[in-house]
């Protein structure tokens, strides 16, 4: 584990860009270490949405007047920005949803509803977020398909031997795995895993909720089939998410029905609009798409390689600092194989109590099962506290975390 360079101690992005970081909590400066749950938004994003709503807001697509043309251009322009950001081949591969969760439900219902038969297998992993488990449980119950799980090792990595075996024995129709664990920070070798899945004829859905905000993600280089992610975790607003799909979308039946997704409607039958609009029923999150476009601009200007490097350096530093806290256990792989997330427990102090004590010191961390109960079961822990980092995080904030933990030890007389 390499030590933090002094030059990496500062935030990667100007902290003044993030208005909320100026606030205090319990009389202490806010130390926001919960970006994996949701990121704070730079003024560039807030202003893009504000300006849009003050000057060009209207409903999209169906208006033959100037405002609606401008709104449509902004909305579709944001789609193009997102498409480029993940290196899509074609703008129309990008479908707007509310969040990662809806994106995965869309695939489960539309692709799954049409393609899964009794006995078919969907292969997930033990480190998945509930959003990449429950939709598959629901569609499995409807179709008679079955779920299987790639096991996680004690060290927090996906067991690659078991994966190879499962591909052979289960012959899954789809492999749905996360590109980065929101609990352990694990970065599974998805590129190899995708190639292996394709070799046995399985499609691959990547849960990119944690990866797209924090790493360079290139859907062509990865060669995945579906990629799901959320705007709110990547400096964008709440209420907007993305499903990217290569080609499968064309053959997939619609998911939600209503305005905008149709070509022609009569009383007893309908035909569907072109992609991607076939999957966007009703008035979408217009302003939020514009905001996500601005977030993508902001991240691109920083450079996703730099974002990743910044977070890896912070993570290495955090693991060092946490290792110095007695009775503390960190879960997951070593710094060089994880994203900017550290989950830990401290003695017999419950994670919620830790979070409350840290909050009192101004430090915001998440506590609980992190929507990954099966993983908690696997490690026989009810909950962890989790600190997660982003472009505005500094090493000084990690120091504040470590100090808060020492305080918690005192309060609980550890």
């Amino acid at each position: 584990m390499k030590t933090l360079e002094p030059s990496m101690l500062a935030a990667l992005a100007p902290r003044e860009d993030f208005p909320i970081l100026a606030r205090e909590v319990h009389g202490k400066p806010l130390v926001y270490l919960d970006s994996a749950a949701s990121a704070q938004k730079p003024r560039q994003v807030l202003e893009a949405m504000e300006n849009f709503q003050r000057t060009s807001y209207a409903n999209i697509h169906r208006g033959a007047y100037t405002l609606s043309e401008e709104a449509t251009a902004a909305y579709e322009g944001a789609r193009k920005k997102v498409a480029r950001f993940i290196n899509a081949r074609n703008v129309r591969e990008v479908v707007w949803t509310r969040n990662t969760t809806e994106s995965i439900n869309l695939v489960a219902n539309s692709w799954g509803g049409a393609n899964l038969k009794v006995g078919d297998v969907v292969l997930l992993s033990e480190i998945e977020h509930h959003s990449n488990i429950v939709p598959w449980q629901l569609i499995a119950a409807r179709t008679g398909a079955r779920l299987a799980y790639i096991p996680v090792t004690d060290g927090g990595e996906l067991d690659q031997e078991a994966y190879a075996r499962l591909l052979e024995t289960e012959r899954p129709k789809l492999v749905a795995v996360t590109q980065m664990s929101n609990v352990l920070g694990t970065l599974p070798p998805v590129r190899e895993m995708i190639a292996q899945a394709h070799a046995v004829g399985a499609l691959v859905l990547l849960d990119g909720a944690q990866s797209v905000p924090h790493l360079p993600v290139d859907v062509r280089a990865l060669d995945c089939d579906f990629l799901a992610f959320s705007g709110h975790k990547m400096l964008g607003p709440s209420g907007i998410g993305v499903l990217w799909a290569r080609r499968e979308l064309e053959a997939m039946p619609p998911f939600l029905g209503g305005g905008d997704m149709i070509r022609e409607v009569s009383l007893h039958s309908s035909t569907w609009n072109d992609l991607p609009w076939k999957f966007e029923a009703g008035t979408p999150a217009i302003t939020e798409a514009v905001g996500l476009g601005a977030a993508v601009d902001y991240l691109s200007a920083l450079g996703m390689e730099q974002v990743h490097a910044h977070e890896q350096a912070l993570t290495a530093y955090a693991l060092e600092r946490l290792a110095a806290v007695p009775d503390l256990t960190v879960y997951g792989p070593p710094a060089e194989r994880r994203g900017g997330v550290c989950s830990f427990t401290l003695g017999d102090i419950h994670a919620h109590d830790l979070a409350t004590i840290l909050d009192n010191a101004g430090v915001a961390v998440r506590a609980g099962h992190h929507c990954a109960q099966p993983l908690m079961e696997r490690y026989h822990i009810p909950a962890t506290a989790r600190a997660s980092f982003y472009v505005y995080t500094t090493a000084a904030e990690i120091d504040a975390l470590a100090e808060g933990l020492m305080q918690a030890r005192e309060i609980f007389a550890l």
Partner: protein, 149 residues
């Protein structure tokens, strides 16, 4: 902070009273707080409408576990009617520390489980906290009272 994590709270957390379960309890109830995963199970034996034995089991934060431990102490020997009359405020008063809104559900989980078991009013489900009529009625009452009518 010391306010929330007083000595006796930590004491109940680390050395919970009435911890465990009963062989063949007359009443058993268990529930989880879906927001944080805290879990409490309560066993009761009852004779002539009165608690004769009580045990609890659970996992979760100091607040939820201390609350359960203190609640079991409080209800030893109580009648079921007394238990049904227990309000969330009673439990918060019993804890005797200031609890913010995010942690109230931790503090009240044990009461919720207890009331689920004995058919008490506080199930923590719909209609309990969120009835707009009740609220409107309470508000009207308060206004009447404070207007001195």
């Amino acid at each position: 902070m010391d306010d929330l994590y007083r000595q006796y709270i930590l004491d109940h957390y680390r050395e919970p009273r009435n911890h465990g379960s009963l062989e063949q309890p007359d009443i058993h109830a268990a529930d989880t707080n879906p927001l944080c995963g805290d879990r409490i199970a309560i066993d009761l034996n009852v004779r002539d409408g009165r608690v004769t034995e009580v045990r609890f089991n659970g996992r979760g934060c100091a607040i939820s576990q201390a609350s359960a431990s203190m609640l079991t102490e409080k209800i030893e020997d109580a009648t079921l009617d007394e238990l049904r009359a227990l309000t969330p405020q009673d439990v918060l008063d019993m804890l005797g520390v200031e609890i913010g809104p995010a942690r109230q559900r931790c503090a009240l989980l044990s009461l919720r489980v207890l009331h689920q078991g004995i058919g008490g009013p506080y199930t923590g489900r719909m209609d309990d906290d969120d009835d707009l009529d009740d609220e409107a009625a309470a508000q009207a009452l308060k206004e009447r009272d404070s207007s001195g009518v």
